[in-house]
Amino acid sequence: MSLDKATVASIANLARIKVPDDRLEAMVGDLNAILGFVEQLDEVDTTGVEPLASVTGHSLPQREDAVTDGGYQARVTANAPESVHGFYVVPKVVE
């Protein structure tokens, strides 16, 4: 499968990464080279194979549903590009 400019532009929108029009062509080439490489997997017969998502063989541990950490609003927001009164500030989203 080969990607075209429109598809790459739509992926870039999904990924929230601006790709300027003059860079789109080069990105299409790069992504198609990578996809061409990974499509070798089509040769492998995977009928009846269970997908492997985790290698550890452990089931995920569970713990009591209790607050064990937190309560440091100032430290959490200390790295924000913009924060006011312990909250993050973003561009206006509701007109």
């Binding site: 601006k18 990974v38 985790s54 550890t56 790295n79 989203v93």
Partner: protein, 493 residues
């Protein structure tokens, strides 16, 4: 160059315990060396004041007889580990100015063992790369130069290139690395040092900037197998804050270190003889096989039939997980923000400017393979082939106790080489990626020099959670290889 810098971690530990040297002396020697080797660009941040403070505290504990396993040992930390109060960048523009308000579990373990922080090392951006060439902070130079083109600057490998370079240049006694597809082992091979990736789950991932969560694993980079074993022992351990952290404690690695390989069965996989591999890599591999045979190991030919599909599998799974992990860089909570007319535009502008080219590529590939309609064809398919790769290893380990392969298909290449073609760069990890996908522990040990005088590593892989066999075989190779070569800049001080 101070003689103190020639001590291995194990030797320094003895001298510190015997009070022949102090941590402050040792740390001062490393700080001077960091300054003298600054041109390598191996550190993004150095923390000399903090180092001296920590050394002083270590000396106090040594004096009181309260020394930890790494008391007073000066270490470098890959700049992917969050360090409280110390800039942490992942070598990305998007984390500009990020000062973590918390410490990663692995580094917490190291400081609790008494280690001293020298600084944070350079890496490929978000650990995505095999040359350290994708760093926002510029490439790292390998301390080694080739005999045929001594003026050419070489890469230290990647992504843990800074960590490899500082250990090879003697500007840290040892360093942490992280390995997602070979990022500890390949730079260790390129830089003539030992690098070990433990079993997935051995070291907590908590507080390590995430790349591909089902693959990422921290490990030590050091001068000897023993040093790596000592350091890994301090780094590893169960952590409730990482749900994939292994509950079983790791056996004492230093105890099995010198048991030798007599009677061990060592597998040699036919599929690792890839087309176009330089003859000297084959030769180094054969040498390793001969050494282990001479030490009494039984060499067994094995087959890992899906090996050639490991890289394509990796280049679906790793970007997919990365695209999800890197969604958090949105210009709101930390790091860079580039304004836009709306919230969506601010996100898109921030991520376009904040991520470098390779990271943008991988996030886009990952977004595509996870998107509706393509998920089954790419991501699910890759997870199925991953199961087959794992089965190959499971079947091999019914017949053998460990596997011996080359670490990388070449010696160190020049800075700027292989950069025109992403897929060509990916091929660097052809021998390291399969074990990453299977979650297995592996080590790279320097085995000799290439025809142009550059280090070549051999890789030992073990069963899940069997780091003991990995260091045992690694130590046997190290003893046989007796690799004493150092980079010219170390020889000349």
């Amino acid at each position: 160059m101070s003689d103190l810098l020639d001590l291995t971690l194990a030797e320094a530990r003895k001298k510190l315990a015997a009070k022949d040297i102090s941590s402050t002396e040792l740390t001062r020697a490393y700080i001077a060396r960091m300054e003298a080797t600054a041109a390598l660009n191996a550190y993004i941040t150095t923390t000399p004041d903090k180092a001296l403070q920590m050394a002083e505290q270590a000396d106090a504990r040594l004096a009181k007889g309260e020394a930890g396993a790494l008391e007073g040992i000066p270490l470098a930390i890959k700049d992917l580990f969050c360090t409280e109060g110390v800039l942490t960048t992942a070598a990305s523009h998007i984390l500009d100015g990020f000062i973590p308000p918390y410490e990663s579990t692995v580094t917490t373990n190291l400081w609790q063992a008494g280690a001293v922080l020298l600084g944070k090392t350079n890496l490929d951006e978000f650990a995505m790369g095999s040359s350290n060439g994708t760093s926002y902070y510029g490439p790292v130079e390998n301390p080694w130069r080739s005999t045929d083109e001594p003026d050419k600057k070489l890469v230290p490998g990647g992504s843990s290139g800074g960590s490899a370079a500082v250990v090879a240049a003697r500007s840290a006694l040892a360093a942490t690395g992280t390995d997602t597809g070979g990022s500890i082992r390949q730079p260790a091979s390129f830089s003539g040092i030992v690098g070990m990736k433990p079993t997935y789950g051995r070291c907590s991932r908590w507080g390590i900037v995430a790349f591909a969560s089902s693959l990422d694993q921290a490990g030590p980079m050091a001068r000897t197998v023993e040093d790596a074993a000592i350091m890994l022992q301090a780094m590893a351990g169960h952590d409730p804050k990482d749900s994939t952290s292994a509950p079983e404690p790791m056996a004492d690695l230093t105890a099995s270190l010198d048991q030798g390989v007599k009677g061990m069965r060592i597998g040699v996989p036919a599929e690792y003889r890839v087309d176009g591999m330089p003859e000297e890599i084959n030769k180094a591999w054969q040498q390793g096989i001969d050494w282990l045979k001479a030490e009494g190991a039984e060499i067994v030919d094995i087959s890992l039939p899906h090996t050639k599909y490991a890289l394509p599998t990796y280049y679906i799974i790793a970007p997919a997980e990365a695209s999800s992990n890197l969604a958090r860089y949105d210009g709101v909570r930390y790091g860079l923000r580039v304004d836009g007319g709306s919230l969506a535009e601010m996100y898109a502008n921030t991520r376009a400017e904040g991520f470098g080219e390779e990271v943008r590529r991988r996030v886009l590939i990952g977004t595509y393979v996870l998107s509706a309609g393509y998920y089954d064809a790419y991501y699910l398919k890759a997870q199925k082939v991953r199961a087959l790769l794992r089965r190959d290893f499971d079947q091999a380990f019914e017949k053998v106790d460990a596997i011996l392969t080359p670490t990388a298909p070449s010696d160190a290449f020049a800075i700027g080489e292989n950069e025109d073609d992403p897929v060509k760069m990916y091929l660097n990890d052809v021998f390291t990626v399969p074990a990453s996908l299977a979650g297995l522990p592996g080590i790279s040990v320097p085995a000799g020099l290439s025809e142009r005088g550059l280090p070549l590593g051999l890789q030992v892989l073990g069963r899940m959670f069997d780091e003991g066999s990995v260091v045992r075989v690694g130590r046997a190779l190290e003893r046989a290889a007796d690799f004493r070569a150092v980079a010219a800049m170390v020889r000349e001080g």
